[in-house]
């Protein structure tokens, strides 16, 4: 995506995390409430043959990760019921007017029986014109969403994007120390962070600052920290990269003199 003139800006961002999330062995807790919350219980159908939805999903996760199912751990409900998606949106605050909303999340939800997107819209009571979810992006999510917003949303009304990185499954011994959600509000070219370009592979040279992190949220939390500690100067070219591989996907921004919007 090459935008040419800066028509799109990031006008506000907010971050929420859950530290030391709880994962458990799904094969040992099939009758627990957590399991019922995730998949409505095991399928009774052909259960002995391992043909239930959860069994099938576990097998496919194991195949994908190259690890035996016994090494897989599944995310449980947050201990305090706090939802990082909701918290990030709350910290971002409501939009200035009606605008679209996009939820970016590669994995399935902790609660598979309810629908996360309309729940977030319903609970926020924000004037959301259109909402949708982006899937299958993995670590690309935090940057690819900028490409979508550049043509999906009217820059005058802006858009809100919520990137949630909370893997439903992880390998025992390599469990994530933190789950992260980043809420981004986009607006027109008058904002504090102009979007200059976005892509995959080798990023353009000459960035003054670079922020990088794992997963779909990538370097956005570090950028958020730097902004709120006033570490960036006007005209700084800022690179945000997402994913474990250093040059995987990126967004190039330019800091302007405009003040950052709401968002804690």
């Amino acid at each position: 995506m090459s935008t040419g003139a800066p028509l799109l800006s990031v006008v506000a961002l907010a971050v929420a995390t859950e530290e030391d999330p709880r994962y458990h062995d799904p094969r040992r807790s099939r009758d627990t409430e957590d399991m019922a919350g995730l998949f409505g219980g095991w399928d009774t159908a052909r259960e002995d043959e391992g043909d239930g939805l959860l069994a099938a999903y576990l097998a496919s996760v194991a195949q994908y990760s190259g690890a035996p199912p016994s090494d897989l751990r599944m995310l449980t409900a947050p201990p305090d019921g706090e939802d990082i998606a909701r918290t990030a949106l709350s910290r971002l605050g409501p939009p200035p007017g009606p605008q679209p909303f996009v939820l970016v999340q590669a994995s399935a939800d902790r609660d598979m029986l309810s629908a996360a997107l309309p729940r977030l819209v319903h609970e926020s009571r924000w004037p959301v014109t259109e909402d949708l979810g982006l899937t299958h992006l993995g670590d690309l999510g935090g940057t690819a969403v900028v490409g979508l917003v550049s043509w999906w949303a009217d820059a005058r009304s802006g858009a809100t994007a919520l990137v949630v990185d909370q893997p439903l499954f992880a390998l025992a011994g390599a469990l994530p120390a933190r789950l992260t959600a980043v809420a981004l509000r986009f607006g027109d070219g008058d904002g504090p962070l102009h979007v200059l370009d976005q892509g995959e592979g080798r990023p353009p040279p000459g960035a003054d600052r670079s922020f990088h992190g794992p997963g779909a949220c990538g370097g956005w939390p570090e950028l958020h920290h730097a902004l709120h500690h006033d570490e960036l100067r006007p005209d700084d070219r800022i690179l945000v990269r997402c994913g474990a591989q250093e040059q995987r996907s990126w967004v190039l921004l330019r800091r302007t003199a405009s003040a950052l919007g709401e968002g804690r």
Binding site: Y64, S114, L117, L132, D139, A144, W152
Partner: protein, 320 residues
Amino acid sequence: MTITMSRVAVRVPDGRDGVDEILARYDRPRAERRLFTRIYGLRTSPVLCAGESLLEQLLDAGREALAGRRTALVLYGHTLLVQPFGHHDEFVSEIRDRLALPGVPVYGISRINCASVLRGADLADRFLSRPSAAPEDTVLVLGGDQGSMGDMSRVIPGVAVCGDAAAAFVMGREGTDHRGRYRYLGGAAARDDRFHRNLRMTPEESRAFGAACVEGMAGVVDAALERTGLRRDEVDWIMPHMSNAFVWRAVGGALGIPMERICLDLLPDQGHLFGVDALTALDHADRTGRLRPGQRCVLAAQGMGAYFQAAVVEVTDDAP
């Protein structure tokens, strides 16, 4: 600028499971089983057989729709979030590698459930209409799910049994690089987020949801017609979301559109195929010679949550 859609490449597996058999296995009450088969008109549901996979069906449909041409964007509308190829970004790699589309942006579109595929058409229309669009740009829209991964993902209690299928089409600006079969006239979307509890809804909420579905579906069809400047009596066909026949008797009544203009032929054999119902109905009507140039079709879909989506297309003179 005229945006058109190619013919739809449909992949419905040959395997069938009996709806009654699925419901019995899922421990649904006998009264509900009778409701599904006798009132809803559902007999069988397509199922992938050994050696078949949804990914291959999607790739195959995508390949047919592209017909060797490149595309600028791929949108994959789907309902289920539990998929055998949905763990990270492996689907993006598969699409790029196996459809020879290196570097092309690929987005999974979901969380609006079965409205996601027709939403893909609406997104494609906007992508192609953006100021920086090149005349030769096209968008490949893919859709489909595998309900048979487990019965939990296959049965919406009281509403539908969901089958395995995939579909694909290409949208682009009508011209030398792209000749479409259907002119895309416009679409509309609606949301009723009171029903976000989805499968956790109470019986009272479920009853209210049933009524809201009829209202929502009729409303989004009207909204799409208004956006395209058409009246209800100018619609030749409704290509419906095929949850069940009962819903469409009510929606047809609410819209004043007779049942013979609602293409439900595939309902007994295929039932509900998540987000690709309307596309399979459109393809079926075309293949059986029912569509004539100039006819207007409304494609309609509904997603749990609740979401509603409609698209209005006009049949063109034939395309290669």
